[in-house]
């Protein structure tokens, strides 16, 4: 789960990492109130779970109250790179003297935690890594290791923080690590970690997290009751939300062939097969969704899945691909027929069964004599057939 900037700031602030004062606001009235409290000039920042919002016009400086409201009214209705803006953060404007970049993330390859940092921030870390790879430091924190203030100091020096910043940087690194660990994060990124203050007054200079990105490990939700406050019902896809209620993995892909299968890999493979068939047939038909019914699915689970997929108005045909391991194809067949009894406005279904109780499942489907149920021998054939049926149904309309 990715957090909005204003939520990520909360988690950093909980650990005592300095952030500029900021207030989340969702309408002009709230923005005016927030801006008055923050003072002027202030920054109006789009809250959206995608990068590059600055270039897209999602971050603006406001000099007074009217300006703040004006800027917020420009930003609030925006959709940035396909993501609707959920609100704005009204934050103190800071005088930036220097920018660092620091992130902690799960390192899949080394199977521990990765600290990526550069003392020459300001642009994108990926761009810096390309042009000046020596300027980006990649350090590790071991899963069984003891990352303490000494280790953090050594790391701050290695990253190349200016001498005057090392002590505060070490404190921030240590607190970032605590934030990462205590919150079961998969990413904690501060970009920029800025040196702010009056250039002529040494005592006023300090490090501050001007922007932050945090992702949390969904698998750890069971030990974080507080995460309920991050639930984001408004911006979610309605089909994805419904599938989630049934405990199903669903991803909306907006094509024409609904895809249901057991096991994430087999469903991904089925999506690829449908796309391939659409290309080969010259129709450009694409998969409408990813839906994994999981292992050992019952007839009820199958029926609920089919009902969700068929309720998508873009869906013209459905491809059901089951390799029965624990899952019984017989149960799946019962679920398909159960769902078809309930659903008005039938769409063609192509079924491919293999493995556990495949013959029994196919016999149940055959006995139903339902004209909308088609059977294929292999997943390749099923993908071809479902793509063809979807293209036909599209033309008929």
């Amino acid at each position: 789960m990715d957090l909005y900037e204003y939520q990520a700031r909360e988690l950093l602030a909980e650990q005592g990492i300095p952030t500029p004062e900021g207030i989340y606001a969702q309408n002009s009235h709230e923005v005016a109130e927030a801006a008055d409290r923050i003072g002027y000039p202030c920054v109006i920042k789009a809250q959206v779970k995608i990068g590059h919002r600055g270039q897209a016009g999602g971050v603006k400086l406001a000099k007074d109250r009217d300006d703040a409201v004006l800027k917020a009214e420009e930003i609030l209705p925006m959709t940035i790179h396909g993501h609707k803006v959920s609100g704005v953060l009204v934050a103190e404007a800071k005088n930036v003297l220097h920018e660092y970049y620091v992130s902690i993330s799960v390192d899949r390859a080394s199977r521990d935690f990765d600290v990526l940092a550069t003392a020459n921030g300001g642009t994108e870390v990926e761009a810096i890594a390309k042009e000046h790879p020596e300027a980006v430091k990649r350090l590790h924190i071991e899963a069984l290791g003891d990352f303490d203030i000494e280790a953090a100091r050594a790391m701050a020096r290695e990253i190349g923080f200016y001498h005057a910043d090392v002590e505060q940087a070490a404190q921030i690194l240590l607190r970032m690590w605590r934030c990462f660990k205590e919150n079961d994060a998969t990413l904690v990124e501060i970009n920029p970690l800025a040196k702010i203050g009056d250039p002529d007054d040494e005592a006023s200079k300090t490090l501050c997290a001007l922007d932050a990105k945090i992702s949390l490990d969904d698998n750890a939700a069971f030990r974080h009751d507080g995460w309920k406050r991050f639930a984001d019902a408004r911006s979610g896809d309605p089909f994805e939300l419904r599938a989630k209620e049934h405990g199903l993995h669903y991803v909306h892909l907006h094509g024409e062939v609904g895809v249901i299968g057991n096991g994430a890999g087999l469903v991904m493979s089925s999506l690829d097969a449908v796309s391939g068939a659409g290309e080969e047939q010259g129709t450009g038909v694409k998969p409408a969704n990813f839906l994994d019914i999981g292992g050992g699915a019952s007839a009820e689970v199958m029926a609920a899945s089919l009902e969700i997929v068929m309720s998508d108005p873009q869906v013209r045909s459905v491809f059901i691909n089951v390799y029965g391991g624990i899952t019984s194809c017989e149960q799946v067949a019962k679920g398909i027929l159960e769902a078809l009894d309930q659903i008005a406005g039938a769409k063609p279904i192509v079924v491919r069964f293999d493995g556990n109780a495949a013959a029994e499942g196919l016999a149940i489907l055959a006995a139903s004599h339902n004209p909308n149920v088609h059977v294929a021998d292999t997943m390749e054939q099923a993908a071809q057939e479902s793509a063809r049926l979807a293209a036909e149904a599209k033309e008929d309309r």
Partner: protein
């Protein structure tokens, strides 16, 4: 020795008395796996009978309080873990501390920090972890009299012994390719798991198959997310003498969306199926467009070896 375990080696099941544990222990026993105990502190001392599960006879399996006791009494070398996510870390750590050397973690939904912890602990103690979030390890017996090991949830009876090795990030795609190549047969099928951090990577599986004299060629099934396939390509190019044929799932997966498996996600343009395919093909590993084509490539490869 086939892959990581001897034929007929003694095995315990952690979480045996749960629903998943009961179902799959019965299956594993029927497949000939030498299961010698279950572990559950709250049900210690119980004897569980699995009807007609061992060569048609009833199998009675004792439940031990912990892995240390189970190992001391039975000499178990391997454990299969069906413990729910919130207790999984403690269960795996317990197995490592007890000196179990092969731990197959089936559980899906373990926090990645917990997996990072027990994987690193296992590395330090010289134990091997397979998974988590995997279908397990199936080894086929190396002689007609011997019994292989079915550790996990891979269906029994799809394949027999043959010259192929298989490693996969996905469960059902494992079964799919096993089915496609069932006439040829396998030495072992290993589910590496679909989580971001796993105990046995694709590279480590290739290393094991390379070292196993009876394996002649390897099927590798990857999917979007991370760089395990690229790492495998790089390792194979340097060290692998046996042919590898690969399949990658998820070409149509959109950026930033988790496709079922916790680890199956393209982020920041990294971990795409296309990148993986290119990395593999660059070192001469053929990548099938579909599971069917992958199986066909493997047949051609084997024919080439014989010719």
């Amino acid at each position: 020795m086939t892959l990581f375990i001897e034929d007929g080696a003694p095995v315990i099941v952690q979480g045996m008395t749960g629903h998943q544990g009961m179902t799959h222990t019965a299956r594993m026993l029927k497949a000939g796996t030498n299961i010698v105990g279950g572990v559950n502190a709250r049900k210690a001392g119980l004897d569980v009978t699995f009807p007609a599960a061992r060569d048609g006879e009833d199998a009675t399996i004792h439940v031990f309080a912990d892995c240390a006791e189970a190992k001391a009494v039975t000499g178990a070398v391997a454990s299969v873990v069906f413990v729910p996510p919130r207790f999984a870390k403690d269960a795996v750590v317990e197995a490592i501390e007890a000196g179990i050397t092969l731990i197959v973690v089936i559980t899906e939904g373990i926090p990645v920090a917990d997996s990072a912890y027990f994987v690193e602990l296992a590395q330090r103690r010289g134990a091997r972890i397979i998974g988590p979030n995997c279908p397990g390890l199936l080894t086929l017996p190396s002689t007609p009299e011997a019994k292989g090991c079915n550790l996990g949830i891979i269906p029994d009876g799809i394949v027999g012994r043959g010259p192929l090795g298989l490693v996969s990030k996905s469960g059902t795609l494992t079964y799919q390719l096993m089915g496609e190549l069932s006439d040829i047969g396998f030495t072992a099928c290993l589910g590496a798991g679909g989580d971001p951090i796993v105990g046995t990577t694709l590279v480590e599986a290739l290393q094991a198959f390379e070292a196993d004299e009876t394996t002649k060629a390897v099927v590798m099934i990857g999917e979007i997310g991370g760089s395990a396939e690229q790492d495998a390509a790089a390792w194979a190019a340097e060290h692998m003498t046996k042919p590898v044929v690969a399949y990658i799932a998820g070409f149509t997966a959109p950026e930033g969306k988790q496709m079922g498996h916790a680890g199956a996600i393209v982020s920041g343009g990294k971990g795409t199926a296309q990148d993986k395919k290119e990395a593999l093909e660059k070192v001469g590993i053929r990548v099938g467009r579909t599971p069917g084509q992958t199986a066909a490539f493997m047949r051609e490869t084997l024919a080439g070896l014989e010719g």
